[in-house]
């Protein structure tokens, strides 16, 4: 099921998405529906859609841009886990968890690469990365940061995806990133749902700024 082209063959009813990039009036109307101004309601989606598809323009047009943005993050996660496995900082069950998560990120890389090619786009290049791997505690913290950020990044872009097939693939990956994040938070003794009952999205600028220190070329 890793192949998004296979997903594309499913009889998903075609539908028209709202035009990306605008819709703030509709957003305001929807958010007003929640009737609660506390920080743990759907109002946390306010940062959604602010930049529309153009937010990922540097990665390509429309869905290809979003897929390449996701691919870049998955490359980063895959490289990170590979280095952590090699570091010898973890043993036993924790090492197996890290190894498994790394394998899953590698599968995400494959699927996203195939999806970009399937849409006639050019997959983003693998970035050169470098991570501080000082001790098990700091590495777990970094892993949790990266996974929580990754989940928020997918959430921040999902609603801008135009193709139902690409969206289905992105959703399938998004919830796995959420699982990884919760598992790592548990290992660290942190809350599984740091944002409360509604996960918060992260915009592209915030995400890229957060991963910048780890990309060396």
């Amino acid at each position: 099921m890793a192949d998004p082209k296979q997903l594309a063959r499913q009889p998903v009813s075609r539908r028209r998405f709202l035009a990306v990039g605008g819709g703030s009036a509709g957003l305001a109307a929807f958010l007003a529906a929640c009737g609660d101004d506390s920080s743990t309601t759907m109002t946390d989606t306010t940062s959604m859609g602010s930049g529309g598809a153009s937010e990922t323009a540097e990665f390509g047009k429309g869905d290809v841009g979003i897929l390449n943005y996701a691919l870049t993050l998955e490359y980063l996660e895959t490289a990170f886990y590979a280095e952590v496995v090699k570091s010898g900082l973890f043993k036993g069950a924790d090492l197996e968890t890290i190894r498994k998560f790394g394998q899953e990120e590698a599968e995400h890389v494959k699927a996203l690469t195939a999806a970009v090619k399937g849409m006639g786009g050019k997959p983003a290049p693998e970035p050169k990365t470098e991570f501080p791997l000082d001790n098990a505690k700091s590495v777990l913290e970094l892993a949790a940061t990266v996974e929580n950020l990754g989940a928020a990044a997918y959430l921040g872009r999902a609603a801008n995806i135009k193709s139902p097939e690409v969206l289905a693939s992105a959703l399938a990956i998004h919830s796995v990133e959420g699982r990884h994040a919760a598992a790592l938070n548990t290992l660290r003794g942190e809350s599984i749902t740091p944002d409360g009952a509604f996960a918060k999205p992260a915009d592209v600028k915030t995400v890229l700024k957060a991963v910048e220190p780890f990309i060396v070329g």
Partner: protein
């Protein structure tokens, strides 16, 4: 079909009670989805929901009401477990958290349905048959994994970008719940690289062993 043949027998034991005239479309879809989950595993739920909603014209209100029904089930399940499960402090705290999250999902979804001009479905009556902490955890895992598959399956059918974003914020939390419950069960928190529904061909293949 006996319960032993079921992939997830505990799902088949969940009773949803409603008088015929009170039985809403969401109740019916939920019953079907749980039945599909019981026989074929949670991954079969996505396509079931997709078909059921497509056939009935669904729309965003239909999808939100289906999600609301699923959240009613989870909220009730955890609320009841607070007084029913006897476990260590860590698990009891987790149950408290999940009960609180699911209740917030219920309130947010009901408000969203109203805002879209729809009528939120009434809460069905549930009867959860399980025994002990292990029975609770097993059923919890099935509900959470099923919830993730159901949202992911319905997501691409949502028309409104804002509703989709909000549903995304909920499904990620369901996935986080699923991972935490799986860790309690000493199972892998993320067993597969993709939380996606099976396609029809794969569902049929999974069905075959159970067709007499």
């Amino acid at each position: 079909m006996s319960n032993e043949q079921l992939n997830t027998p505990e799902l088949a034991a969940v009773q949803i009670e409603a008088d015929d005239e009170d039985l809403t479309r969401s109740d019916v879809i939920l019953k079907g989805a749980l039945a599909a989950g019981a026989v074929y595993g949670a991954l079969a739920v996505g396509p079931y929901v997709r078909r059921a909603l497509a056939q009935s014209g669904g729309g965003d209100v239909g999808i939100l009401n289906f999600a609301l029904t699923l959240e009613y089930l989870e909220a009730k399940f955890y609320e009841e477990a607070k007084g029913r499960v006897r476990a260590n402090g860590e698990l009891m705290s987790l149950i408290d958290l999940l009960a609180k999250d699911e209740q917030q999902h219920v309130e947010a979804l009901a408000a969203s349905v109203k805002k879209l001009g729809g009528k939120p479905v009434a809460e069905p009556k549930f009867d959860f048959s399980y025994s002990g902490t292990s029975g609770f955890l097993k059923l919890a895992q099935t509900f959470e994994d099923t919830g993730v598959s159901a949202y992911n399956g319905a997501g691409p059918m949502i028309k409104s970008k804002e509703v989709l974003a909000a549903a995304g914020g909920i499904v990620q939390v369901e996935a986080r719940h699923a991972a935490a419950i799986r860790l309690q069960n000493k199972e892998e928190p993320a067993p597969m690289a993709f939380d996606e529904p099976l396609d029809e061909k794969q569902v049929l293949k999974a069905v075959e062993p159970f067709i007499a």
